[in-house]
């Protein structure tokens, strides 16, 4: 064998359950939790494989010599106890919705019923290979199709794909469908470089989410920004002047990212359709409109919604999500395939639309997220879903009104599920910035709102309390925000002081990036620790 054996044999006399490094001090914030790499001790093991009785082969019998590594790959040597202690401690250095209110605007951080987790862990769902024949996966096909139908009903659309893994992926998918549609009008089929030169612009409002322009850029369309008016809504006159036969479409969020409903949406839809453009609805967040109004009825052609916001998938620290993309029937032939469908005999199969733009996921999308969302819809029913939106909007308006004398309210109207405040006056008066407000909220044990977004509001605090917070919680949050507005510069400048770390130096992190533990230890000792 070519390889040097440098691994310490297992500590045979020490049970796998032993390990750990004693104190729980990291919880108290006085100490950092070491990395798993620092906890590594030669001889410790956690793995356990089933007995298979398969004959043993030497490494040389299994791998041709030129493919054998020259150096032994090093991961860690830790016991099960070490792993449990470490990751449990890490979890205790982490805020989540289950701990408390998480009013991050545009993110819909609501409490999600635990039964949806139970559904997503049913072995009949988790233990299915995605390449299984439809005869084997009737249950899954049914779930996918039922969720597709429910989303179409809620959004007022005709067909949907469940493949996009998240909102951004759905946006790009929708824009490519937009492109395929326009090319089919001019050339009869979708071919790169032909047919769509005439329509090369997509309009997006200046208040849009960052993924919108990023997706438009990737779709190959040119971006034209539509300004907002003094009410925070699309400036209709400006829009009129931008419309022409070079417009492929417009991407809108409604309620927009200021939490305001685009009152003139019907007229906007008519104007865009008039010039032959399509309307894309960024429905990442449907929390305000369930059973209240539907993008399809507003005149939209393409809608995506983030199941990881409105439909009960907790955010997992950043993902996974899933974002069904729904379209009107004229665009259905372009959807990614394969798609689930119901056969005449009531069973289910897969089909790929005639002019499909092609797959956008390795398999069928984030299926477990879809199952969870369908469970959530069933749990609520049509009445419950409408109550979700009513309560979300009521909570947001209550909180907004309670704070209107303390912070600037750039757009004063009833808001939908979220609203934007500004610290501009407080910043001028005593230097209290949106960042300071966020850090003071941390100090008081609350997760802060989204800050500095949307970009059109200075010192923005974008607040989305969601329907799952009680009036008591809203009152506490409101009081906290009022107290912060009264804080002295010394007080707010030093916040937070109660968290496990204080304000983090982001400039240093970006200037000399340390992105792995090896980079950290190399920098410290000047050598490569990646391999033995």
């Amino acid at each position: 064998m070519k390889q040097r054996e440098v691994i310490t044999p297992a500590e045979d006399d020490i049970p796998k359950s032993s390990g750990g490094n004693g104190s729980s001090a990291p919880l108290l914030g006085s100490l950092a939790e070491p990395t798993i790499f620092e906890l590594s001790k030669p001889g410790r093991r956690a793995f356990s494989f089933r007995s298979t009785n398969i004959p043993e082969y030497s490494l040389d019998e299994l791998v041709p010599p030129q493919h054998l590594p020259e150096k032994q790959l090093r991961l860690v040597e830790v016991s099960e106890r070490d792993i449990v202690a470490h990751f449990t401690r890490l979890s205790m250095r982490q805020y989540g919705v289950d701990v408390g209110v998480y009013p991050l605007g545009s993110c819909t951080m609501k409490y999600n019923p635990k039964v949806c987790d139970t559904v997503a862990s049913l072995s009949g769902l988790t233990n299915m290979h995605p390449a299984s024949d439809p005869k084997l996966s009737q249950g899954w096909l049914k779930i996918l199709l039922c969720l597709e139908e429910a989303i179409c009903e809620i959004t007022g659309m005709d067909s949907a794909t469940l493949q996009p893994s998240a909102g951004a992926s759905a946006e790009l998918t929708g824009l490519l469908i937009m492109k395929a549609w326009h090319s089919s009008k001019t050339t009869g089929f979708f071919e790169k470089g032909r047919g769509y030169e005439t329509r090369h612009k997509v309009l997006i409002p200046d208040s849009s989410h960052g993924t919108n322009p990023a997706s438009v850029a990737l779709s190959g369309y040119d971006i034209v920004t539509v300004p907002s008016n003094s009410k925070g809504l699309i400036d209709i006159e400006a829009l009129k002047s931008l419309l022409g036969d070079d417009i492929a479409g417009i991407m809108l969020t409604n309620p927009n990212t200021l939490g305001l409903f685009e009152e003139e949406i019907a007229q906007i839809a008519e104007m865009v359709h008039e010039v032959g453009g399509l309307l894309y609805y960024d429905g990442a967040n449907l929390n305000a409109i369930l059973g209240v109004t539907r993008p399809g009825d507003m005149g939209f052609d393409i809608v995506h919604t983030n199941l990881h916001k409105t439909f009960a998938t907790p955010h997992g620290g950043g993902g996974p999500g899933a974002a069904p993309l729904a379209v009107t029937s004229r665009l259905a032939p372009f959807l990614p395939g394969p798609r689930p469908y119901r056969l005449d005999n009531g069973s289910y199969g897969w089909t790929t639309p005639a002019q499909s733009i092609g797959r956008v996921h390795s398999w069928h999308g984030n299926a477990l997220v879809v199952a969870r969302a369908w469970a959530y819809i069933l749990l609520n029913g049509p009445k419950g879903l409408k109550q979700v939106s009513q309560a979300a909007v009521l909570n947001a308006n209550w909180l907004k009104k309670s704070l209107q004398d303390t912070y600037d309210v750039p757009y004063d109207n009833f808001c939908m599920h979220e609203f934007v405040l500004s610290c501009e006056t407080l910043k001028k008066a005593k230097g209290l910035s949106a960042l300071d407000v966020a850090k003071c909220l941390l100090q008081k044990g609350f997760h802060p709102p989204t800050i500095y977004f949307p970009l059109i509001v200075h010192e923005a605090l974008m607040i989305e309390p969601t329907e799952t917070e009680s009036l008591e919680t809203l009152k506490e949050l409101s009081q906290a925000l009022k107290d912060i507005a009264r804080a002295t510069p010394e007080e707010f400048g030093s916040a937070p002081s109660t968290t496990v770390v204080q304000r983090v130096d982001e400039v240093q992190a970006a200037r000399s990036p340390l992105l792995t533990w090896d980079a950290v230890s190399n920098a410290a000792i000047g050598q490569d620790t990646r391999n033995a």
């Binding site: 438009v216 620290g317 996921h361 941390l442 982001e506 992190a509």
Partner: protein, 432 residues
């Protein structure tokens, strides 16, 4: 609350939604289920699936039936991880940030490359992002890709690069290994050189590509070498980094994530330091807080969509963090020794199975190149029919390859008893 707002009804809050746009009916959805009723219904539906608990799984193709230890499931379902958002506020997100930092370290080690991000959606989108990276890095718009890349991934790449005017040039396989000397139709040398070469390791047919050849060609063309690898294979094979790869991508499902009918899975991406500022998605770095205490934070943020908007290197926002944490836990559990042992077990099971099946009359290797844990067989029967007969015998026999082959995958979970029975059923199915 309504009084406080000076409202008479909840409806009044929705006054900005003009009457013609109001949805006045009731959504056509089932009426609300109670929790127990919901569980009964969902359990019934899930029981209509025939899972790998019922059928012994020899199917792979990018999704593998591994054992998942209790510790991975237990820790990855802690609600502090599950119910957090993207770590925008580092002071209260050190748990997820550190777990992701450790994940990045693990991915850097198993790829042999300098840096990794904190996850992408899946293998296919990781490939797409890697190609976009190579195109921006080299400012070129041609891609050389091996036919040995998972066909679904190639389809996703084609879909998502429709907007970026990328020209994709496909290179065929010769005996299971990419033939970079071939002259693919529709491309002539006089055209722009490629931004990158994409090759699988092992490739879709399970074969070990000669990456030194791909590296040489990439170097001579000034292109990036992008390696789509199987993370489990890294326990016994040279890493993409050791082969001189510039960017490596993978499907990380094998690292503790259940089959789940295809998702959520885990897109892995890692690269050499010089590509770092082209990496898509969230990246966690170690820094210090104002008191000098070690602290983690998302960094190199100037690449991302929320800051750069249309100039961002990628549109990704939500990623697969929880799956990345799962993988970090799983890799800790495997450790140095278990990671190698796992790879050895998969390779040994594959070798044993391949030998048994090749003893069956009429079954031949589709290609003769060496393989790792997955291999392609030529069978004397329509593969769909063969697989259907195998289902009847209790086996998920593999994935069809056209009209004459099937792709078979092994994991550490398959026992000799199961494999022997599979070979018998295989023989029987062919004879019938």
């Amino acid at each position: 609350m309504l009084d406080f707002l000076g409202c008479e009804s909840l409806d009044q809050l929705f006054d900005t939604v003009a009457e013609p746009l109001r949805f006045n009916g009731s959504l056509k959805l089932d009426k609300a289920y109670s929790e127990p009723d919901l569980l009964t219904k969902m359990t019934e539906i899930s029981n209509e699936n025939h899972t790998v608990d019922e059928l012994v799984c020899f199917a792979g193709g990018g999704a593998y039936d591994h054992d998942i230890p209790a510790v991975t499931k237990a820790l990855a379902s802690r609600s502090e991880f599950v119910t957090a958002y993207t770590p925008y506020q580092p002071e209260v997100s050190q748990g997820i940030l550190q777990a992701l930092f450790e994940f990045q370290t693990f991915i850097s080690r198993i790829t042999g490359l300098d840096v990794a991000n904190s996850s992408l959606y899946d293998g296919a989108t990781a490939l797409t992002e890697a190609v976009n990276m190579a195109a921006s890095f080299t400012k070129r718009s041609v891609l050389f890709i091996s036919d040995g890349i998972n066909p679904a991934w190639r389809e996703v790449l084609t879909t998502f690069t429709r907007g970026t005017s990328l020209t994709i040039v496909n290179f065929p396989l010769k005996d299971g290994i990419t033939d970079w000397e071939a002259s693919p139709p529709g491309y002539s040398e006089s055209e722009q050189p490629p931004a990158g070469l994409v090759v699988g390791y092992p490739n879709y047919l399970g074969c070990l590509e000669e990456l030194s050849v791909a590296r040489k060609i990439a170097t001579s063309l000034g292109a990036a070498l992008i390696v789509a690898f199987d993370p489990i294979a890294m326990g016994i094979l040279k890493t993409p980094g050791e082969w001189g790869g510039d960017i490596a991508v993978a499907e990380g499902q094998s690292l503790g994530i259940p089959l789940s009918f295809g998702g959520p899975y885990l897109g892995l991406i890692a690269c050499k330091a010089q590509y770092m500022r082209y990496l898509p998605g969230r990246i966690v770095g170690q820094s210090k807080d104002v008191y000098g205490k070690k602290a983690y934070v998302t960094t190199l943020r100037a690449r991302e969509q929320d800051i750069r908007r249309e100039k961002a290197s990628s549109n990704i926002c939500t990623n697969q963090t929880l799956m990345a944490i799962t993988a970090a836990i799983q890799l800790s559990w495997l450790g140095t020794v278990g990671f190698k042992e796992l790879a050895l077990r998969c390779a040994a099971a594959a070798k044993y199975t391949k030998q048994l099946l090749l003893n069956i009359h009429g079954v031949e290797p589709m290609v003769s190149s060496p393989t790792f844990r997955e291999f392609a067989l030529k069978v004397p029967l329509d593969p769909e029919l063969l697989l259907e007969r195998l289902i009847g015998e209790g086996f998920l026999g593999g994935i069809p390859l056209g009209k004459e082959g099937i792709l078979i995958a092994l994991t550490e979970k398959r026992t000799r008893g199961e494999i022997d029975a599979f070979a018998q059923a295989f023989e029987k199915a062919l004879k019938r």
